[in-house]
């Protein structure tokens, strides 16, 4: 919202403040009330030397049809020759004239030749002076203004305009108009807030009331008044300048006045043509219909939308926008002025449904003070009468006020303030700002009772902590003493899962040189399509603004696969990992089944499938050995995702718990990524892994006596039976088994292993080693496995 300092100064006497002092006050406002944007405009500072001038004569330009040769009286001894291209020049007209030596924005006015004739100055349009967008002709000023009068002495061209961030006003309905902002400035400057002049509406009590009935509790208050005999159509320049500086376009007097009131008091108003609203009813409808608003748009109205009606016929969407049919038109002579308050949530819901926010609805959404409605009408009439003295009021003030906010009274003690602030404020520090902001304050010893003013009591200030804010923000946070707490100390142990997560990242980065990446929580529809993969069925997002975002992911590997091709140029060999979230559909309670996973993908153009597969398998073993002091099991499993290889895919188990999968990429997907590369992946559940207790480190003293080694060559396409046989024999003499070689010949695959033996207390004998070897061979034999040779 744009704020004019001139407007503020109408309500706070800051005449002794120069620009620097005003800027400093605006800065304090930003630190104490609401955020002011960095750019502060010094309006009019680039306009100098513009005076009132009278056009004495208008002659045709010898070389141009558009240009005219003027003689103007700008208050100097002799008339001045001017070349002017405006279409509206006429003899006797008074206009704004930039003399030689004047400055307009970036332009210094100097004698200048225009189509062969010299011009000693320039007649100006409103746009050229930065007063509006109007560039249709030069300004047509009041003929009573003396020639040579500095325009700035008549019109409020000089102003300081700053922008308050609307977001910082979300909780402050009272700051959506200049008067509320002025109250803050008054409190900060320690000066009184001047009253807002209003017309005395009691003078019209004898007139008939408007036919009004609030039929719906969503309308909290509705006040109206009818007025006739409006003769002026254009707003005074000073009002238009102010509207323009505050970002509004001047339309006509009545529309400008409603906008002016909204910017001044924060109260949205609406002017109806009285002929169209003879019986005002406020209600909702049982069934949906369409309604044309004054911007010409047909809008779908449903049964929840509150409407202002003339009898049964809707004429406005309450709090949002008037209808086209009831708008003020050319021949309107009588108007009905609406000043109302509607339920904030209802207005908000309607704007969401209609996808249509207006300056009016933005204010209603903030919970406006219903006490304002009649004052706004009084103020409107006061301003209107000041501009157009002939207007006649034709109704009594008609006001229905079914909903009252409760009067908020809060009691607190000095000790409460001390505890909350942590500093020692004086009674004066507490009382003064509250009074300045319009709160009623009574003090009884250490006890304070405050009455919250109506404009703060709609939701903003309801509890004691809100009072703390009022006191401290005016006191100034920069003035706070800064103290540490006196809380007792207790040891803090990090959560196990967090510790393990950090450890996993360290191992993957530092030991295995993988790269941590983040991918989104949703499936990458476009990228998946390029890989020939479907978007997997899962919980969907509603109404994402970004295209291609619709379904949550079930697997991090899936999103990781989308990173492979883009990174192919990074290195011939690389690995990615991510610890992130996936959602596996809904749980029985209807909530998302969210899991934290670790996903790893390795891609290589130098290692073959098998090598890469084992690289990742051993990496996983290293993780479990390092953190859990145990080896995982890998159990062949069936694919659950389209990118998983039908054959080389394993479930990863540790301590009987299934943690996730290790697998090779499906050839059809691999072909889309890179035919010549190998890709393997693994994904496991982090909390499940973290929860598995780590085996203790089992320290064994190595035997002092020489050990022995025995080789065994077994015909088997799997190593597992050998390990099982050794485990089954379970000899305390066996200290290790090592695979020496794997080879294939006519008899199939053979695996040579070297078994190490040692006795803790003495030298081994050949017989006892042979006995263990025989037992192992026997167990293998029982499994139907033969020895080679």
């Amino acid at each position: 919202m744009l704020i004019s300092m001139n407007w503020i100064k109408e309500f706070v006497d800051l005449r002794d403040y120069d620009n620097e002092a005003l800027l400093s006050l605006i800065h304090r406002f930003s630190l104490s009330a609401a955020e002011v944007e960095n750019e502060i405009a010094l309006k009019g500072s680039d306009v100098r030397g513009v005076v009132v001038a009278e056009i004495l004569s208008v002659d045709a330009h010898p070389n141009s049809k558009k240009l005219h040769l003027l003689k103007v009286d700008c208050g100097e001894a002799a008339p001045v020759d001017v070349v002017c291209g405006a279409p509206n020049v006429r003899v006797g007209m008074k206009t704004a004239f930039a003399k030689v030596g004047a400055r307009l924005g970036e332009i210094d006015i100097a004698p200048r030749e225009l189509a062969g004739c010299l011009s000693y100055g320039m007649c100006c349009s409103e746009k050229e002076l930065g007063l509006s967008e109007d560039h249709s002709g030069i300004m047509d000023l009041d003929p009573v203004l003396p020639n040579g009068t500095d325009l700035k002495s008549v019109f409020a061209i000089d102003d300081i305009v700053f922008e308050v961030d609307n977001k910082s006003l979300t909780n402050r309905p009272d700051l959506w108009g200049h008067y509320g902002i002025a109250r803050e400035f008054a409190a900060l400057a320690g000066r009184p807030l001047l009253p807002l002049p209003e017309a005395d509406l009691t003078a019209y009590e004898h007139l008939p009331k408007v036919d009004l009935d609030i039929e719906d509790p969503l309308c909290q208050r509705y006040s109206c008044l009818t007025v006739e005999h409006i003769t002026r159509n254009v707003s005074p320049l000073n009002m238009r300048i102010r509207l323009f500086y505050c970002g509004m376009r001047a339309i006509n007097l009545l529309a400008d006045l409603t906008n002016y009131l909204m910017l001044e008091m924060g109260q949205p108003m609406h002017a109806f043509d009285s002929r169209r609203v003879e019986k005002i009813r406020i209600r909702r409808f049982d069934r949906p219909f369409t309604f044309q608003t004054l911007d010409g748009v047909e809008r779908a109205i449903d049964e929840n939308t509150l409407m202002i009606c003339n009898g049964d016929k809707p004429v406005a969407i309450a709090g949002i926008m008037g209808g086209l049919d009831s708008e003020i038109v050319e021949d309107t002579t009588s108007l009905t002025l609406e000043s109302a308050t509607f339920d904030a949530a209802s207005v908000r819901k309607s704007t969401v449904r209609l996808s249509h926010r207006t300056d009016s609805s933005a204010r209603y959404e903030k919970s406006l003070d219903p006490e304002m409605t009649t004052h706004a009408i009084g103020r409107f009439l006061y301003l209107l009468q000041g501009i157009d003295s002939g207007v006649q009021v034709t109704s009594a003030l008609t006001d229905q006020y079914p909903f009252h906010y409760p009067q908020v009274e809060l009691t607190f003690t000095k000790a409460y303030v001390d505890r909350y602030t942590g500093i020692r404020l004086t009674d004066e520090d507490i009382v003064r700002p509250l009074k300045a902001l319009g709160f009623g304050v009574q003090q009884d010893g250490d006890r304070f009772t405050v009455q919250v003013p109506s404009w703060r009591a709609t939701k903003d200030v309801t509890i004691k902590a809100d009072i703390i804010e009022e006191i401290t923000r005016i006191y100034g946070y920069d003035n706070f003493a800064v103290n540490t707490t006196l809380s007792p100390l207790y040891p803090v142990r990090p959560a196990p899962e967090k510790t393990i997560e950090d450890k996993l990242k360290d191992l993957l980065v530092q030991r295995f040189r993988l790269h941590e990446t983040h991918t989104y929580i949703w499936q990458y529809a476009d990228e998946l399509k390029r890989l020939g993969l479907p978007v997997e069925e899962n919980v969907k997002l509603q109404g994402a603004v970004n295209p291609g975002i619709e379904t949550l992911r079930r697997s991090i590997v899936q999103t990781q696969l989308c990173l492979l091709k883009p990174n192919a140029g990074y290195a011939a060999d690389f690995g990615l990992f991510e610890i992130g979230r996936v959602v596996k559909g809904l749980k029985a309670d209807g909530l998302c089944d969210e899991h934290k996973h670790l996903a790893i993908t390795l891609m290589s153009r130098t290692a073959d499938h098998r090598t890469l597969y084992f690289r990742l398998r051993d990496l996983l073993c290293a993780l479990t050995q390092d953190i859990k002091h145990a080896d995982p099991e890998f159990v062949p499993t069936a694919p659950a995702h389209a990118w998983e290889h039908p054959k080389n895919l394993c479930a990863i188990r540790l301590g009987g718990v299934e943690l996730g999968t290790l697998g090779l990429l499906h050839p059809s997907v691999l072909a889309k990524v890179d035919k010549k590369a190998s890709v393997v992946f693994a994904e496991l559940d982090v909390p499940a892994f973290a929860d598995i207790p780590a085996s203790p480190i089992d320290y064994r003293v190595p035997s002092k006596y020489p050990g022995m080694e025995q080789d065994l060559t077994v015909i088997s396409d799997r190593y597992a039976p050998i390990a099982e046989a050794v485990a089954q024999v379970n000899s305390p003499l066996v200290t290790g088994v090592q695979v020496v070689s794997i080879f294939n010949d006519l008899s199939g695959q053979s695996i040579s292993v070297r078994i190490s033996f040692a006795h803790p207390d003495r030298t081994l004998t050949g017989e006892e080693v042979q006995q263990v070897m025989d037992e192992i061979v026997a167990v293998l034999g029982e499994k139907g496995i033969r020895m080679k040779g």
């Binding site: 955020e35 949530a345 903030k366 942590g422 800064v482 790269h515 941590e516 983040h518 991918t519 970004n546």
Partner: protein, 352 residues
């Protein structure tokens, strides 16, 4: 001296002088000292000599033997040294000016700044909490004093899910759970609640160089008896000075967040210019860094904590923003790009 002995000696010295390799050395050793070597041969036919002569000859032969042994040893050492020198001479001096070829992994920059922040807060006794990314309306809004259709919901565009849940828009979504988790320890044992909860947040908005729909925050809360605004300022100033490893000035401005009262926008003195004004602070000398405030009494109450007995502060640090500031990442989208050319640069960042 026996002529044969002296002849042998001469012969040995002559041959020794000529050799150059270990192999030749061995050949000489065998030919003189071997079982059938020249020295042994020289003693043959000694039986015909007198005892006196035998003794003399034996002595001279032994002297010859030890002379040969010593000489061979010396020659061996000389050859070894020569060989070593030859190896050294042949060894080129390596070009250490070649570029390093260290293969390194990398952490995500968010992990790096998150760890740095966690370290600071842990040192001050805060626990680090984790929380889900999909949350309920209650967790993200209602329990934070943001009822349905509250205008504050406008401040953040939310990704709603078809089951009515949503992707958390702010790490504050964990507040209620954390209060409930630690309230007993607070109330019964007097243990203050001091927790930080980093996490990934989501906003339904279009992305560009400055806007991301997926980003990281780190929320922190402290609740105890008598926690004050003054304490809040102290903690923020101290922690941020630790995080940035330099003295930071902080400034509070009123800010509206329904879950705090009073609520603040916290600005820090510009990290680039120190407060004198520069392009990165838009010449204001200040950078808006994090929202904070005193926890709203209603939020404490919903967390099972009596606001008449306890007060607390809460703050939310933008980890993504912090990472961008710290590492000079200009385009926020780089962080979720998965692009290794970009991300592999963040090898580690140990703070000392």
């Amino acid at each position: 001296m026996n002529e044969r002995i002296s002849a042998l000696r001469e012969q040995f010295e002559k041959r020794l002088a000529a050799i150059q390799s270990l192999q030749e050395l061995e050949e000489i050793r065998v030919s003189f000292l071997g079982k059938k070597g020249l020295v042994t041969e020289a003693l043959k036919g000694m039986g015909a000599l007198s005892d006196e002569m035998k003794r003399t000859l034996g002595k001279e032969t032994n002297e010859l033997k030890s002379m040969i042994t010593v000489a061979l040893g010396e020659k061996l050492e000389a050859i070894r040294q020569l060989e070593e020198q030859r190896q050294i001479d042949q060894m080129p001096d390596f070009d250490v000016s070649l570029p390093p070829a260290v293969e390194a992994g990398s952490y995500h920059p968010i992990t790096l700044v998150q760890r740095q922040c966690e370290q600071v807060f842990r040192s001050m006794g805060f626990t680090v909490e984790d929380y889900s990314e999909v949350v309920t309306d209650w967790e993200c809004f209602e329990s934070l004093n943001i009822p349905k259709f509250h205008p504050a919901r406008d401040m953040q565009d939310t990704y709603y899910l078809e089951n009515g849940q949503l992707l958390k828009t702010q790490t504050s979504a964990a507040q209620n759970a954390i209060y409930l988790k630690y309230r007993d320890a607070l109330v019964k044992d007097g243990v203050p609640i001091k927790a930080i909860f980093p996490g990934r947040c989501f906003r339904n908005e279009a992305t560009d160089a400055c806007h991301e729909n997926t980003f990281f925050q780190m929320e922190g809360v402290m609740v105890d008896r008598n926690i004050s605004i003054s304490n809040l300022i102290y903690f923020m100033k101290t922690m941020l000075s630790e995080v940035f490893r330099k003295d930071i000035r902080v400034r509070l401005r009123p800010g509206f967040f329904p879950f705090v009262e009073p609520g603040f926008e916290l600005d820090i003195s510009c990290l680039i210019c120190g407060g004198s004004g520069c392009a990165s602070c838009k010449h204001s000398g200040w950078l808006e860094l994090c929202p904070c405030g005193m926890i709203h009494p209603e939020v404490l109450r919903m967390g099972g904590i009596d606001p008449e007995e306890y007060t607390g502060f809460a703050f939310g640090l933008g980890l993504t923003r912090l990472a961008m500031m710290k590492y000079g990442v200009a385009d926020i989208r780089d962080l979720n790009s998965g692009s290794l050319v970009r991300l592999s640069q963040f090898v580690d960042d140990v703070q000392v």
